[in-house]
Symmetry: C2
Subunit: 449 residues, 2 copies
């Protein structure tokens, strides 16, 4: 292994033992089977784990040539349509292979890829470059699911922008029928391929010839996705005694203001949920999060996770930023220069926190309504996953105390609402270079309740 590759393996390997593997994830399925949703989520998850991932959407390439085709365009007897769609696939695959040459790790080819011939062609192109292929077929015969996807598509697809919704839905159904004429599901003929077939959003899953760790992680992630409506509530603990003094880390109890927040939280949560159904509550193992949860109704099942504990500041635990700058000036500067990757001596970096949060994210994907009470850095990492924040920005994000955040995953992105408790608290946000004990964060648009 060359020195360069060794470096690469190390960098990637912190999360994923991937060495020099490159994988093309080939989506397979009729329109309105959630392929783009799966592709986008897989990309987001992998990028959050520092795996270089990119979606290549063949529809976007086709739209360059024909922005708003009618269903006839997708009829296999339409030679001109066939030629253009084939050209779009060629262009997408060519761009993807170029991207792999530049060092990309997981390229996701988002298209119907509905015939065996087309899938074989992609495999040959990838084989020639030493790139593994993993086919992900989404099959669905649940009419309700398909209809809700059609509804989604006709209102969000650029193919139907500005068109009458009813006409768009009709045309889209016709397009699906054109694809159905030639669609071939993955079957025994293709058992030499590495594939996963997901039926009705995970009700049944078939996994064939998974070879390595990265493939198995992607498949496990896809297995855990569901599309039942739900929300995730995030809150930091109430203000702690350490927050008041500007010290980081530690295991301090709540301040008087923090106590007030813990008493107000149950009503804030109930108002936000909108009904009486109980949530599951996850806290860290530290006193300030457990105390913040203590007035929640007994019907709320509570779970303590060590993985939700605050970023470990190592030798700096218990210090103020002014003390850190004084005692460890080089560390203070190094952290400001690259906050995501800086690891406290004997402690952790944001990158380390993301690794230990991975099982939490996997559980969140499986779960329905959850309320998480945790810490500033940990909340930033969880938030970054759902809201697609970059590694550069997320460690600097303002997450005020005494604020409840509600995240609701939707097909294309996550909706956010913030509720302020209107209970005073210090700000623990810090701008680059600052050693202020408390400093105002940039204003946010939380609603007061």
């Amino acid at each position: 292994m060359s020195e360069q590759n060794r470096g690469k393996a190390k960098k990637r390997g912190v999360v994923m033992q991937v060495e020099d593997i490159q994988i093309c994830v080939v989506m397979v399925g009729l329109p309105a089977r959630g392929k783009s949703l799966i592709a986008q989520k897989a990309q987001r998850y992998l990028r959050w784990l520092s795996v270089d991932a990119n979606v290549f959407n063949v529809g976007n390439y086709r739209r360059d040539a024909n922005p708003q085709p009618t269903a006839d365009f997708f009829d296999t007897s339409n030679a001109e349509g066939e030629r253009m769609r084939r050209a779009a696939a060629e262009a997408a695959v060519t761009d993807m292979l170029k991207w792999f040459k530049g060092g990309g790790t997981v390229g996701i080819l988002d298209a119907t890829n509905s015939t065996k011939e087309r899938r074989r062609w992609i495999k040959e192109r990838c084989d020639a470059e030493g790139i593994e292929t993993l086919y992900v077929e989404s099959k669905c015969d649940d009419e309700d699911l398909i209809m809700s996807n059609i509804l989604e598509v006709k209102t969000t697809s650029p193919d139907y922008v500005g068109q009458d919704p009813e006409t768009a839905a009709q045309d889209f159904r016709k397009r699906i029928r054109n694809y159905e004429k030639v669609y071939q599901t993955i079957d025994e003929d293709e058992n030499d391929l590495t594939y996963v077939k997901i039926m009705n959003v995970g009700k049944q899953v078939i996994i064939n010839r998974i070879q390595d760790y990265l493939q198995s992680r992607v498949v496990y992630y896809l297995m855990n996705l569901h599309i039942k409506p739900r929300s995730i509530w995030l809150s930091r603990h109430g203000e702690s005694q350490y927050n008041e003094t500007g010290q980081i880390g530690g295991d301090a109890e709540l301040s008087a203001n923090g106590e007030m927040y813990s008493r107000k939280l149950p009503k804030m949560v109930r108002d936000s949920v909108g009904d009486d159904r109980p949530l599951t509550v996850w806290t860290s193992t530290l006193k300030r999060t457990i105390s913040t949860a203590k007035h929640l109704p007994k019907e709320y099942n509570q779970l303590q996770w060590k993985a939700l504990d605050e970023l470990d500041a190592g030798v700096c635990d218990g210090l103020t930023y002014a003390e850190i700058e004084e005692q460890y000036p080089e560390d203070f500067k190094a952290r400001d220069d690259d906050k995501y990757n800086y690891r406290y001596r004997g402690g952790e970096s944001y990158r380390d926190v993301v690794i230990r949060l991975e099982p939490i994210i996997m559980e969140l994907e499986r779960s329905e309504d959850i309320l998480i009470i945790t810490h500033q850095a940990v909340l930033r990492c969880i938030y970054a996953y759902f809201m697609k924040k970059s590694q550069e920005d997320s460690p600097w994000m303002a997450v005020p105390l005494h604020t409840l955040i509600k995240l609701t995953p939707r097909a294309y992105g996550t909706e956010e609402q913030r509720y302020k408790a209107n209970i005073p608290a210090v700000s623990t946000w810090r701008s680059k270079g600052s050693v202020a004990k408390h400093e105002d964060a940039p204003p946010d648009d939380a609603q007061s309740i």
Copy 2:
């Protein structure tokens, strides 16, 4: 949720979010398809994660009545055989349900369960008690795999103890043919069941209706098993400067003796591997493990895992045991009383370390030859998984410095070899109550090289 259940959920939930779920894992498959191996491994994995799991082997119940039956006993036209086998299944299921009543979490019913009718009967029995069922079918048409399993069975099964191996093998093949006559694989008729079908040791896997987190963990674990021959080498870092002074934790460099060990390690590893094939090396992120690996051949791909860092001693980091006893006498005693569960203030317990090692174990199951250079507590936890050590004993186990351990998983257990470097090192083993700086560990049977 009652207070008692809440406590139970909390205790279990640290690793697995299970609440009050109880699962019966029902093995399905012809003889010699690796069912018992899968059952045993799943039990070991779950127990290591503090999930109460137990295997109920129907063959053991049948042997009470008929210790060494011939193949005719398993012929469906043999009414007496049928009656006795049915009675054995009844007895095993009854015992299992009794065990669930006592609070067991995962009961594994190890038998062929080869007909739809039998599987339906088990489901009805479990449904009546509110216990989930998860069917695990092992199918295999790879003749080599089956033959090696037959070979294994005829030499290890109590059914053939003391018999001529050739006769035993023939009888066993006849028994398999009797089962084949009535065997029904799980198919679409049973799509209301939660099941996983594993074909040819994971080449293809079908997963149907997985409902909750614990089921998904078990399935993911089973997906990752393989039976290719391989070994895992474990070593602690070379003696460190902290080891010399009797301090725990920290991030010290190697002592002069530790340096010597790092220079001898490459030859020890090569001699133990027996050929020139390169291993993959995993270290922690701490200096003393990375330095220990530094003379290994460049062909060995190296990976640093934060999850392999030593147990975090929190406020006691950098202290000697004498200092801990002096400064934190209650903690010192509490740790001796329950070393597995004791969590250092601001640090970790052995239980915490097991949780963060779970992804490492999963990767080890997927991987082939790996050399792990890590720390005393972490090595004890990994060793406990492979060698089935109890939570009570594993934290007290002697793992001397400057010793290479080779573990080779076999069908029924793990083989162990130890190689001493014969380079002096202090002992870091400590008996209950002791504050000695260095204390001799009980003798072990490592071979010197």
